[in-house]
């Protein structure tokens, strides 16, 4: 067990940290999006019931979308206060449009992948799309995470006796282990469920065989049964124009409200085979604000005749799945939970980082500090931990500094932001290899500088500062600035403490080493 925990941890610690860090950022993806795309800074509070798609969306689609196109319309909600729809345009290119739900004006947003594209896809596919390799790597790491959680429980000798134990005044190695144990044990159910639910979201990728065995490789048939969709044939249908979208929203709302006894609305509409006689409209409660479950209710209408083709409500097994998946997606509107997820996500990052640090401390104590093994792992750990935080800071700074028309070597503005992220990240590894022990302190100072600069740049480029955002009720941007400030202050504190620890050998000002305790922990 010990061997398994140590080597899975060392081999995958950096990767797990990246996944956890990006996942934690994705908890506040809409908020980061609003920070990075100032055009989205607005408020919307009425739950999506008042939007009139027949005026805002349908005429535009009839002019711009290709016949037979698949259309997704996402209604505005509190966290994403805009109306969004995507379709294949007349040239066949996938196009996405955001509208202000109040007046239907087009939002010319900053060109950026921001958090909901870049951080989110990095979280589950590491920005490696080729052959799903990224997905499989994340899947493998998630399985390893489960192994680490279980083996950790077995090798932790005093789970209950040491439940609340953190002794910063003890030798650095001991206090690192305390912090690793503490952050692991108190949020253990969170780590377990977040990892399992992450694997469950991608069950069709990781376990395709049972589905293909039962459905003989027909994924469409499986989706129809499992998600409540309807697939109609796409063979040479006649062109036909649909009259209304709003009628389906109203009909779905009425049916669901009657079923549950409380007000319900659809938050997303799909149109299949747009502009043909086979067109269907699928109304879904995909990411509803008021419940954990994802995609529990689905209604499919014939878009031309208006008849209901399918009324799907999740059965017990599917219901359990929608809850677990919803627990991972956290698209519900519940601000205390969002903050708690953020704190627990950061706790997970601390758990992974202290795990690797403890491994190094154990080797330094036995006089193996200058071995290649320790130096390599140290450089990798510094780059994986503080390096990815610096790279994230660089991504935010690049977003504020790059001009709208920026382009280099065929890369547009959004791609250049990602280049800034990866180039910065690589350079932190090089810096860590060169500076060895001092790298932690250097990089903490860089994080502090980046955090403060990001706040100032947001102010300079948009005129939005924390008090102004609070008074306008745009909490997303105010919270982002406050988190950046807290991050910068924590980095300064860590840098100062690290400097002190180089002279005293402990993380706290009162150094105390107990030989008996050292012997016990060995």
């Amino acid at each position: 067990m010990n061997w398994c925990h140590t080597w899975f941890g060392i081999a995958l610690g950096g990767l797990l940290f990246a996944i956890f860090w990006m996942g934690t950022l994705t908890v506040v993806d809409s908020e980061i999006d609003q920070w990075m795309k100032p055009e989205l800074r607005m408020t919307f509070d009425d739950g999506g019931g008042s939007v009139i798609l027949d005026d805002l969306v349908l005429p535009r689609l009839q002019g711009e979308a290709k016949i037979g196109s698949f259309v997704i319309i996402t209604l505005p909600k509190k966290r994403e206060p805009f109306l969004e729809y995507s379709f294949d345009n007349l040239e066949g290119e996938r196009t996405s449009v955001k509208l202000n739900p109040r007046d239907g004006t087009y939002i010319a947003e900053t060109e950026s992948e921001a958090a909901s594209d870049f951080f989110y896809s990095f979280h589950y596919m590491l920005h490696i799309r080729w052959n799903n390799i990224g997905l499989w790597l994340v899947g493998f790491s998630s399985m390893a995470m489960l192994v680490l959680i279980v083996s950790g429980i077995f090798i932790h000798r005093k789970i209950f006796a040491d439940f609340f134990t953190f002794r910063p005044w003890k030798a650095l190695r001991r206090s690192t282990l305390d912090l690793h144990n503490l952050t692991s044990v108190v949020a253990l159910p969170f780590y377990f469920f977040i990892t399992v639910s992450g694997l469950l979201i991608l069950f069709m990728i990781f376990l395709p065989w049972p589905i293909s065995a039962i459905y003989s490789g027909d994924d469409g048939a499986f989706r129809d049964d499992y998600f409540g969709f309807v697939s109609l044939s796409e063979e040479n249908p006649q062109a036909a124009e649909m009259q209304s979208l709003d009628q389906y929203l109203i009909q779905a709302a009425n049916i669901w409200t009657e079923r549950t006894g409380s007000p319900e609305v659809a938050d997303v509409l799909y149109i299949n085979n747009f502009g043909t006689e086979n067109a269907t409209v699928t109304a879904r409660q995909l990411f509803t604000s008021k419940r954990v479950e994802v995609g529990k209710e689905t209604l499919v209408f014939d878009a031309i005749s208006g008849h209901i083709l399918k009324d799907f409500s999740a059965g017990p097994a599917r219901h359990a799945h929608t809850w677990l998946v919803g627990l991972h997606y956290i698209q519900f509107d519940h601000w205390p939970l969002r903050w708690l997820y953020l704190v627990c996500g950061l706790m997970g990052c601390v758990m992974i980082a202290t795990g690797n640090l403890f491994w190094m401390r154990a080797r330094i104590r036995t006089g193996r500090e200058q071995t290649v093994q320790v130096r390599v792992i140290r450089a990798l750990t510094v780059g994986a931990v503080s390096g990815i935080i610096i790279a994230t800071g660089a991504f935010l700074i690049a977003n504020r500094l790059l001009p709208a028309e920026a382009a280099l070597l065929g890369n547009g503005r959004a791609a250049l932001e990602i280049w800034a992220f990866f180039l910065t990240w690589i350079s932190t590894f090089i810096h860590a290899a060169v500076r060895d022990k001092a790298a932690w302190r250097d990089q903490c100072w860089v994080i502090a500088v980046l955090g403060v600069s990001a706040i100032l740049l947001n102010w300079i480029t948009t005129g939005d500062h924390i008090p102004a955002m609070i008074s306008e009720g745009i909490w997303s941007v105010a919270s982002m600035d406050l988190i950046l400030l807290a991050g910068a202050l924590t980095a300064i504190w860590a840098a100062l403490r690290l400097k002190k620890s180089e002279t005293t050998g402990a993380f706290s000002k009162h150094v105390q080493t107990e030989p008996s305790d050292e012997a016990q922990a060995r």
Binding site: F164, F166, T183
Partner: protein, 128 residues
């Protein structure tokens, strides 16, 4: 549910989670020494453990009252996690902050001994 009720139940759920964790921490003699000093009186660790769990269960009740079971199943363990982390940090840096929690223990001990006395004084229960 109204905004005030939401805020009240959230506050109570967080408070009971933290107090519950603090009581569980005080049920361990090492932490008792840090916070109060000396050895805990006899039976106090057991009492602290039981009251601690009662508070943590109360936290679950407040979570359910606020949000219903589906959200409470997530809110409760996360409040517990953050509560336990806060208690551990207080024990490490400001142990005296946890002293007021021992007042709850004193109350619980007094109540328990009163119960015991009543039990003994009831006719037919003499031999206890």
């Amino acid at each position: 549910m109204s905004v005030t009720n939401d805020a009240l139940f959230l506050f109570l759920a967080a408070l009971t989670a933290i107090i519950g964790c603090a009581l569980l921490a005080l049920s361990q003699s090492r932490n008792w020494r840090e916070v109060i000093g000396g050895k805990p009186p006899e039976l106090t660790p057991r009492l602290a453990k039981w009251t601690g769990w009662i508070f943590i269960f109360a936290s679950l009740v407040f979570c359910v009252l606020r949000d219903g079971g589906s959200f409470a199943a997530i809110l409760w363990p996360l409040l517990f996690a953050v509560g336990a982390l806060s208690v551990a940090m207080l024990l490490a840096y400001r142990p005296s902050c946890l002293k007021p929690v021992s007042a709850i223990l004193a109350k619980a001990a007094a109540y328990e001994s009163r119960l015991r006395a009543q039990e003994l004084s009831r006719p037919g229960n003499k031999q206890g």
